[in-house]
Symmetry: C2
């Protein structure tokens, strides 16, 4: 980073879609920008479910934040965990350094909410990070491996039962992808079990899947999943969850693999700054995305609670985070250049996309009220996602992995990574005696 | 698997190069083969150092064993851990099932030896498995991340000091690859530190690097590494090792990253069957690779101790394991077909290869006593390794990753995967209060 001793200091917490957009909008200004993230990488969350279902590798959809911002000379990147903010002294505290700021942008994202049952997290991981995805991949593949080994019929049935909680895009995509693993990728690989006998249950508390989509696309998604063998349970509520299964409206379902895609809760950013927040923990921002009483602090993306022009909450999706990031970046740049305060932030909803397995997707574009479904929807979805990936290598690798999967049903990344060097060391110890 | 109720039962423990060769040599026979491995994947160990240095992803060099053997109808694959062998009852015991056998092949590989100091394993991981490689990748990348954050000069120097113990192919390849990460991949990504100031020390107890190669290639490797900035310390012995550094011949070196490539110790297979073994734990096999006193049990690859025609130990490399596997498979097939016992196993050494960074390698081919070095050696090495990879997708992806690295110096897989869902759950718990 070039140093600008008299330049204003901007601290951006979070290297997701929102945080990166702020940094880019401030490119070229004589200021000192610090991007802080507890991970070293930006993760393309819309494709996490493909890591979880063994289509692509983590590195195909994640890039070091330093690499992405390498050419922007007024930025430095720090990998460290923020522990709090001193709003009076204007200092961000981390577990390593303290970072003074003139402007602070909180773009810290969200994690899963277990509706007051956080003990369920251990049994039903969500899908927000690379580690989540490789953990789910291991559980999924191990369930089939262990089913091959047991002879007890009830145990085998529980091992081959996969419960996905939440019928939003994540749940629909996971259910479709797991169905294809069971139906197409694995059947010829096992002897004792037939992977096609796997039960895949998608449980949604509301009356229909994909509530943000038009109703006919919800119906289409349900039909398509059911044709793939998924049992779709709408208006069904999970009331208990443990290591061996779930209880749905009082009915017990034994299942060794449970995946959580239901609720969302924001990061603790609101607590750091003592700001008012909604029940999901999102900072209630003012129309210019600043925090009430702190014109120098902004919250964006999943960290912010704000409504669109129709009075609907702005959704927690990548395009919303990017638009907010760009708005705040331009606002700060304008202030530094003495320009007048901009008009309030307006969210432009471009559409909704969700895949239902390899050859089908539902797409609703706001532009001209266009809806696409089936194979055409899937083609649109594929091109859009390849386009938004970062880097030539990743676009190539993901495209090859998808072609490989479409034409051969093979999954290229069926790796269960067990921690083993401790085990090895223990053995070496034994044999040395 | 097709069932052959009257067919002989062959149990192969280990899905590495040796075990897979046995299975393939028995293709088409009316017998029941079980391949047991505690991992679900076969790993192409010669490229593990490229996972550890962020060039390729784990799934690019590892494949599910079930997938590899999918089309062989007389094989089933079980993912489970072998706990012992009842040689009298002819049963392999695992932590899930018991496997009766008529023939048993032990192809269980080796791990690192810490020369009686197994407590060092925690501080200095070796490079034998996918988990080892991702662990080393995390340590390597985190060292630079943490160095960027500290202000204490001594701490920063320790964080930017990388010690590799052992001057065989693994040590040489790791030292060369880490030097390129520091010199080419990272310099533009950091502000507070200059990655080029990293110290990379390669420590070898013997008088020269790559002792299995001709002396002039050892010299060439040393020169090439030194030009890349690696400090090569031959005739130097590590006498202590802890979380903060090593002691070499009484001299303390502070280093936060230590990688072990020194000794090798076989799996506990010799203990399972109560067979005589050498100090490295390898079963002392007879000339037909069977275990003394048990003509139905064979040990191959890194599990076997046997000499070649010159009286030299057969080396623990992939071609040796493949040759032994093929020999044992054909021996068993011949016995089942009533053919006479074959001539003793003869090892054919094809040569030695080791890379020293992206554009250089040393190659010694036994065929016509040819030696190659430098860029020509590296081209030969690249083509040979792409050829031996399994699957079209993997060949494509690895080739693209190498081209990407050669032309841009970028590393495509710079991901530090921190376990974080527990952390997230804890936070969700906090905010819910």
């Amino acid at each position: 980073m070039e140093h600008y001793p008299n330049g204003k200091k901007v601290v951006i917490v979070g290297g997701g879609f929102g945080g990166l957009s702020v940094a880019r909008a401030l490119n070229g200004l004589p200021i000192e920008i610090t991007v802080v993230d507890r991970q070293n990488h930006h993760c393309f969350q819309p494709l996490l479910y493909q890591v979880a279902t063994a289509v692509v590798s983590p590195a195909d959809i994640a890039w070091p934040i330093r690499g992405i911002l390498r050419s922007q000379r007024n930025v430095r990147v720090l990998m460290t965990e923020v522990t709090g903010v001193d709003v009076a002294a204007k200092i961000v505290r981390t577990d390593s350094v303290s970072l003074p700021y003139d402007y602070l942008v909180l773009a810290t994202g969200a994690t899963h909410s277990y509706f007051g049952h956080d003990e369920w997290a251990e049994y039903a991981p969500g899908l927000k990070t690379i580690s989540n995805a490789t953990e789910i991949r291991s559980r999924l593949l191990l369930a089939f491996e262990h089913a091959e080994l047991v002879s007890d019929e009830a145990k085998r049935r529980a091992l081959l039962t996969f419960v996905i909680v939440g019928g939003g895009p994540t749940g629909v995509e996971m259910a479709g992808a797991i169905a294809e693993v069971a139906l197409h990728a694995l059947p010829n690989d096992f002897c004792e079990i037939d992977p096609r006998s796997a039960r895949i249950l998608l449980i949604e508390a509301g009356p229909r899947l994909l509530p943000s989509f038009p109703e006919k696309l919800s119906d289409y998604a349900k039909d398509t999943l059911e044709k793939k063998g998924v049992t779709v349970m709408t208006s069904s509520r999970v009331t208990d969850c443990d290591a061996h299964g779930v209880t749905v409206d009082g009915q017990r379902i034994e299942a060794s693999t449970i995946i959580w895609g239901a609720g969302v809760i924001a990061s603790p950013a609101a607590e750091w700054i003592g700001a008012p927040h909604d029940p999901a923990g999102r900072v209630k921002v003012t129309p210019d995305l600043s925090v009430p009483g702190h014109q120098e602090i902004f919250a964006i993306g999943d960290t912010a609670a704000i409504n669109d022009r129709k009075g609907q909450p702005v959704p927690g999706i990548a395009p919303a985070a990017k638009q907010m990031g760009y708005y705040v970046g331009k606002l700060i740049a304008g202030e530094l250049n003495g320009k007048p305060h901009p008009a309030p932030f307006v969210y432009h909803h471009q559409g909704d996309l969700a895949t239902i397995g390899t050859h089908s997707a539902v797409v609703k574009l706001n532009l001209d009220h266009l809806t696409l479904k089936g194979f055409i929807g899937w083609l649109f979805w594929s091109v859009a996602h390849i386009y938004f990936l970062i880097g030539i290598r990743n676009r190539f690798v993901v495209a090859i992995s998808w072609l490989n999967q479409v034409f051969t049903s093979h999954r290229g990344a069926r790796i269960i990574a067990l921690p083993d060097h401790v085990q090895n060391a223990k053995h070496a110890d034994d044999i040395a005696k």
